[in-house]
Symmetry: C2
Subunit: 147 residues, 2 copies
Amino acid sequence: MLSKKAKYALKALEYIAKHNDDAPILISEISEQQNIPKKFLETILLELKKDGILQSRKGKNGGYLLHKKPKDINIGHIIRLIDGPIALVPCVSYKFYHPCSECENEATCGLRYAMQQLREATSKILDRFSLAEIVRKEKELKKSRKK
Amino acid sequence: MLSKKAKYALKALEYIAKHNDDAPILISEISEQQNIPKKFLETILLELKKDGILQSRKGKNGGYLLHKKPKDINIGHIIRLIDGPIALVPCVSYKFYHPCSECENEATCGLRYAMQQLREATSKILDRFSLAEIVRKEKELKKSRKK
DNA sequence: CGAATAGTCTATTAAATACATAGACTAAAT
DNA sequence: ATTTAGTCTATGTATTTAATAGACTATTCG
């Protein structure tokens, strides 16, 4: 499962992406609109900024803006950034590779093979979905629901 | 990531499946061979027994045996049993469905849509891999490595 | 300039979960 | 009856997750 932190990050990004046209967006606005504890959200947005996804302005008329295009922000990246590895075992993770302490031979581990297949399929999906697509899909779903 | 508990469960089952021909297998044997803390392993095997995957005999010549055929034990089931949901958000889980507290409309949530796609792909793989296949794959990998 | 605004940084805390162990108890074999 | 081996109840410890407090810094605007 995603941590709340990761879910908050995704929700906040989605919100910013939706309102990205004009002025910077306030932490407090996102906090209220998305029901995210403000102080917690602050640390999350900072992390996203440090990663280069967001940019910020201090002082009056300040707030957060996207620093990348929505189509260049994918959810796999966000999840890895906040929650760490997506793979179920460290020995099949690209970004967080680490041998399993208990295993004697990684190359011949049957379980690892299965986990590798899973990782492959998972990454393919998560690295394909961008913020832009999430926003677009949401609009589409809302439209088709009205009819 | 899988918890250690789930990994231990999978390792232990694999070990039992490999040696399932004859006599029951001792907790202490699995513990030593697979480097799993014995007391911790006890609780894990009990859980697997209560779920109907293993059976046990007490007293001398006792130990654990499979209660289902290796081909009928799939790793998705084990992981769900020990670690809970495989889906990244509760609102797309079959077995552990629960609405996301923060979300206002599940039906039009773009993020949920992505998570649904992911869940679909993940389950397909995890519910396809059985213990039998894990064991078979391991043998195959060992063989091809010798050459 | 200086007051107000809004993000940034450091530290701490509460609660939950993961991991593990201790010890008494029960059932079966010889 | 004794030994063996799983079962049950309880407890402990460490780590992670979620959240909060408060001082600090940069920017805008009158």
